[in-house]
Symmetry: C2
């Protein structure tokens, strides 16, 4: 079923007219009168509608989006090269990430700043929006950047469970980290998953992360690429918390 993110949802029984990019998208889909579509406020609430005519919909009663996971998982990613960021944003949105935050780290080759970064973030946010529509998400993940590794650590550490995946960690597993969460959690549990760029993290960065309160975890004995690790970590966390059942 087609899905459109809108600024504000109509009340039940109201008419609603698709505009802007949503109107363009609707034209491509060739919606027909009587067809069901969903409006979504991007904050977890859906409004099922029926196409009345052209771009005009009749709204039904709103309800919580059933596709949102029971955990708010933020991905914290050292800037990767080229189109890897786009790949991770698209896949992480499908899988159920709440937010993606990019940051510079010691071994980053790419370090966009200023207008170049603004332009990238704008493009990346569109990718998240499009992936959210296609995968039936009720929330569009926010895509943003932290100014420094230090800032990223400080913000990521505010989660209920902040984790950094490190290829040289061999003991402490994601299972142990998740096992340390209180059961039941009060409200939606917030989890941060931090991963490195192509060159990984320096030993000093790992010490800084540990001091900031992040748990240094392994993702198993196989070496994962910088675009594979965040998606593997996200999938494992969502599976562990029952959000893929």
């Amino acid at each position: 079923m087609a899905r459109f993110f809108v600024d504000a949802l109509p009340a039940a029984g109201e008419r609603f007219v698709l505009t802007g990019e949503n109107a363009e998208h609707a034209k491509v889909l060739r919606l027909r009168p009587g067809e069901s579509v969903t409006l979504c406020d991007g904050a977890g609430t859906d409004c099922p509608c029926t196409v009345a005519e052209g771009l005009t919909l009749t709204a039904g009663p709103s309800l919580p989006c059933a596709a949102e996971p029971n955990a708010a998982v933020s991905l914290w990613l050292a800037f990767p090269k080229a189109d890897k960021a786009e790949h991770v944003i698209q896949k992480a949105t499908e899988l159920g990430a709440a937010e993606l935050v990019f940051f510079p780290s010691r071994y980053c080759v790419s370090r966009p700043e200023g207008k170049a970064l603004d332009k990238k973030l704008e493009r990346w946010q569109k990718i998240a929006r499009s992936a959210a529509e296609q995968s039936g998400r009720g929330v569009i993940p926010t895509v943003r950047a932290a100014a420094s590794f230090h800032d990223a650590l400080r913000q990521a550490a505010e989660a209920d469970l902040p984790i950094l995946f490190y290829e040289n960690e061999e003991q402490y597993s994601l299972r142990e980290a998740i096992g340390s969460l209180p059961v039941p959690c009060a409200g939606k549990v917030r989890i941060s998953l931090m991963t490195g760029a192509e060159g990984g993290f320096s030993a000093e960065e790992i010490t800084q992360a540990r001091n900031a309160g992040l748990r240094i975890c392994t993702l198993g004995p196989r070496i994962l690429r910088c675009e594979t690790a965040p998606l593997a970590g996200l999938t494992a966390v969502l599976y562990a918390l029952g959000a893929m059942d």
Copy 2:
């Protein structure tokens, strides 16, 4: 540490000379005398070696590769479009798949056959080899094709736990399917994970799969793309079985 797949491992104390593609790769890496490298037979056994001089190594005692998961997970994939197959092969190899088998299904757009398929499979097998080297795998996953959907179902069903992920299945979860495995399993448990092409499976294909003995599972309420679903399923299975600890 550099890793080379070879046809036969040397005995401890023997000299071994890298040849062919391995020699090319070693030259790029600029190996130095005294450096540690690993030879691997591609069947799960590693042989740690020391560079003696140039392309000549001195072999240590062989041992089982510690990076191999405790389950043999085969991915069964309806032929996807364009470069999605290459993406899945690379990522699935990193994550720990044992085998990738492509097959034609009703909604496949791409249906390579004959020499075109042979060429693709040759290329795809090289991608698996390269990803296995880089991720530290002890086994190179086999990449092959099944002649028909029927053949794929019959072969996939031979596993201890054959699963098909279907977006219209809302009840039966991967957790339930994995919970049905005997504990402890005798030997390495064999799991088949089947996923569709861009257009998914037809209702008739789902009935055929169920009759062939496959469990029809959900991967959660979000709609995953055809290249995301097999990797998400593989990750969740490996996490569930402790192969990412």
